[in-house]
């Protein structure tokens, strides 16, 4: 089991130059500490126009900054929106290659397609098309990263023969992931030999079934990349404190704030009926689970808030579902003071991490082993 951080970068009103900078600075300070403490990776979303909820429209810049102040932690897109109105595929190939070089081969490439009308409508993207363009992009990217000269004539985009440079530092290319939000997307990930980057979670049983299904299908996958990235990551909240009551209470404030903000977003499906978005996406499930029934402490089952013992128990349960990694959201609207976030990370690293054996190594995967 490995542990990562997951950033939405949520900024409270009023949005002064200082508030935006302060939040970014704090995130970077957390990442620097996480690197020193042995966290595996830091993922950052790509979101646009999502007021207060996420001010992270340029994750490649944030992740570059992360890479520049750290030595070991891997930096991951969670995710790049693979829709032409948002990102041209050539630019994705180029930007990711540069980030991989600058980070010394520490890049993870998560892919997805956006789930809100706020964003899709903002870029005038057609929600009916996003699954198709995502599929096209993820098949093109490994070719662009590895072929000396590349040309393409496709459904949503095309290009004449050119040399796409530079190539990524990792050979043959960085590990690829799919954001898994809508039901069944883990199958899309498995069929393409990509990691399953869970951005939501159901109950433990449901998660176990999803993981089993993923592992079964990926055995016979036709990988879009040059190697199979068989990994399952899930997402959670984290607030760890020696005093369980304080940990749970603060953690609930964090989850409540995050989920309240998330509920304000305009899901693609709410505004624009389409079979392309069969569910409301990541947020309602996260919300539901994080506000679901818990024990007497009020902590919902499976949420990593409370004292180390409680968090170990929650993560052991996720580990037993077959997940390889848990990525943590640390704050929302700066609800938790920075010093408490840092102390929570320190305590987690000291008291919780030793209970989990590290498995595998992303560099091994990137080196090509199926």
């Amino acid at each position: 089991m490995k542990f990562g951080l997951f950033y939405e970068i949520s900024v409270p009103r009023p949005w002064t130059a200082e508030t935006e900078k302060t939040v970014y600075d704090r995130c970077l300070e957390q990442v620097k500490l996480a690197d020193e403490l042995g966290f595996e990776s830091v993922f950052a979303v790509e979101h646009h126009f999502l007021e207060e909820y996420s001010h992270c429209p340029a994750p490649e810049l944030f992740l570059t900054a992360c890479a520049m102040i750290t030595k070991r932690i891997r930096v991951g897109h969670g995710i790049i929106v693979c829709v032409p109105e948002f990102n041209h595929p050539i630019k994705i190939a180029e930007r990711t290659a540069v980030l991989d070089i600058l980070s010394g081969g520490r890049l993870e490439v998560g892919t997805g397609r956006s789930a809100t009308w706020t964003e899709l409508g903002g870029f005038r993207a057609n929600p009916d098309e996003t699954k198709k363009t995502w599929d096209e992009f993820v098949r093109c990217l490994p070719q662009m990263w590895t072929q000396e000269r590349y040309h393409y004539q496709g459904r949503s985009w095309s290009m004449p023969q050119r040399t796409i440079i530079p190539k990524p530092y990792q050979k043959p290319h960085p590990p690829m992931w799919v954001a898994v939000t809508s039901p069944g997307t883990e199958i899309d990930a498995a069929e393409r030999g990509m990691g399953s980057l869970g951005l939501t979670f159901g109950g433990f049983k449901e998660q176990e079934q999803k993981v089993n299904n993923y592992r079964k299908i990926i055995r016979n996958c036709e990988p879009v990349g040059k190697f199979v990235n068989e990994k399952v990551a899930t997402v959670n909240f984290l607030f760890c404190h020696n005093d369980d009551e304080v940990g749970v209470k603060t953690g609930l404030r964090l989850t409540g704030t995050f989920n309240y903000l998330a509920s304000q977003l305009l899901a693609a499906r709410e505004a624009y009926p389409t079979k392309s978005y069969p569910s409301l996406g990541l947020l309602p499930s996260l919300r539901q689970e994080a506000s679901g029934p818990g024990d007497a402490s009020g902590a919902p089952e499976g949420i990593a808030i409370g004292n180390p013992a409680r968090i170990i128990k929650a993560i052991k349960a996720w580990e037993s579902t077959g997940a390889d990694q848990v990525n943590f959201l640390l704050n929302a609207l700066e609800t938790v003071p920075q010093e408490q976030v840092l102390n929570s990370l320190r305590l987690f690293a000291k008291e919780v991490m030793p209970h989990f054996q590290k498995s595998g190594d992303s560099a091994t995967a990137a080196a090509g082993g199926r």
Partner: protein, 252 residues
Amino acid sequence: MPPRFGTLDLAKFAKSVSAIDGYKTEPLTLKGVQILELHMEIDDDPAIALLPATMHPAIPQYAIFNVLHAPNSEWGPFTIAEVRVAGRTGVRPRGFVLRSYIDNDDAAKALSSRWGFPVAKGDVNLRVLHDRIVGRVKLGGKTVYEIEEQDRDSIGGGDIQYIASMHLARNKQDDKLVLVQVDPEYVFSKAERGRPRVVALDHEAFGATAANLNVMSPIMACFTTADITLPKVRYICNPELPAMQGTTKVAA
């Protein structure tokens, strides 16, 4: 700092609300109802004045324009048109009803007294044409509202998600203003989606102004046929308080 809240002038808006006879009404099912609904993005900042303090604006703000034709009901056939502004009460998506017009007096009386819908009498019409669907409201012979779905294309009923409505009403029992939530259930037999067009809109007829209900950008139009069940009133809100503080459950 929480998300923004609406700034509706309650005293001014309350002049056009209906009086509801308490919250004891029984559910009602309407069969084979045709619904034309348009979603249009609206100018954000001014539109916040169209939402009560209970609600957060959607991001981006959008208005819901619809016309609904019920061919059979205990009051006979009726057609109703309404304009809503979408938002959130707490964490739940809701459309705040600005004003409705209906062509059947008995239905108007029942919908206002039993559910508190802000309905007024008008000449309301829904026409299904080969190439488009047209909904229209005339008042005194003048068209105050006309909406269209163009470029019709079939989709699955399961893809449709109508959001529940909230409307301001006056409770006859204590004369207080309340926000009433009505969350109909739909069983779809037909659904299509197309391009929306607001052909005519007299803003004042819907309790708005050209400034605060400024249609900016089309989202979609859909036309469905469904059986609709209007449920019991289950939740009401204090229109002066955020939903998390001012929501009351009045039925199971």
